[in-house]
């Protein structure tokens, strides 16, 4: 049996997108990256915490950031705070999608004021991930 769950045709925009995946848990990172490749998104950069991603942000200028919330030494929330305060508007407006193991009110209420494009509960299906990314890129 082979069900990818990603057969829906996504626009070329999402396939051309450069995406940062910031996730400290190896299994989840592998799972997310696998789904993104199946969606045709190949310009991928993986980081295991917000500080590592932030360091490469200005150089690599991603179109989208998918980030976990709870990480050390820098959380996803802090990463987005730093991104939003960038003097470069191309960077400060990068759409961000939070990857979260729960959709608790506390997590959502912390994320929303940061202008995130949305959040997705782990583990997402490929199709849910694709839909969320397409929506985020369209509205950016």
């Amino acid at each position: 049996m082979r069900r990818l769950g990603a057969e829906r045709a996504f626009s070329m925009d999402i396939k051309r997108a450069r995406v940062f995946v910031v996730e400290d848990e190896k299994i989840m990172s592998t799972y997310i990256l696998g789904h993104l490749r199946k969606l045709g998104i190949l310009d991928l950069y993986a980081f295991d915490n917000g500080a590592a991603a932030l360091k490469e942000l200005a150089t690599l200028k991603p179109d989208l950031i998918l980030t976990d919330v709870h990480m050390q030494p820098m959380s996803g929330i802090e990463l987005v705070r730093q991104v939003r305060t960038s003097a470069d508007s191309q960077l400060s407006n990068i759409p961000v999608i939070f990857l979260t193991a729960d959709s608790s009110a506390a997590t959502v209420s912390e994320a929303l004021p940061l202008g995130v494009a949305g959040y997705i509960v782990k583990p997402p299906s490929a199709i849910a991930l694709g839909n969320k990314i397409e929506q985020a890129l369209k509205s950016s």
Partner: protein
């Protein structure tokens, strides 16, 4: 007459579910190896942390577990992990220790099921049939 001993199928591991979510068998195999390593390390570590009264430390490990367990396991185990993880955010050490004492044997059984699946796969005879779903 077939007299070969029958081995009970997995209760918690659902490889058909994992395959449907991950998308291909090779990737699933690699992720099961990661799951085996993670469980072997984290399951006893949670007990150690709780014995030291470090509920926040235990919660820090339970949280990602809650996130990736649904890739591989049936709903009953996912629900149990979620309950203990939720408890670890607010309850005291004794309550979390008692809750984890009930969860730990299931995680150990999951670890054993993953090991059996990977060993069978290495011999070319992995079964995809879960019995607990």
């Amino acid at each position: 007459m077939n007299t070969s001993p029958t081995r009970p199928g997995p209760v918690h591991l659902d490889t058909a579910l994992a395959l449907s979510q991950i998308g291909d068998a090779e990737a699933m195999q690699g992720m099961l190896v990661m799951l085996e390593d993670t469980l072997a390390s984290d399951v006893p570590k949670i007990t150690d942390l709780l014995l030291q009264g470090d509920v926040a430390g235990a919660s820090h490990i339970l949280h990602p577990l809650k996130g990736f367990i649904p890739i591989f396991c049936n709903a009953a185990l996912c629900d149990h992990v979620s309950q203990v993880e939720l408890l670890s955010k607010s309850a005291d050490s004794a309550a979390v220790s008692a809750a984890y004492a009930a969860l730990r044997p299931k995680l150990e059984q999951l670890l054993a099921e993953v090991a059996v699946y990977l060993a069978d796969g290495a011999q070319g005879g992995a079964s995809n049939a879960p019995s607990g779903r």
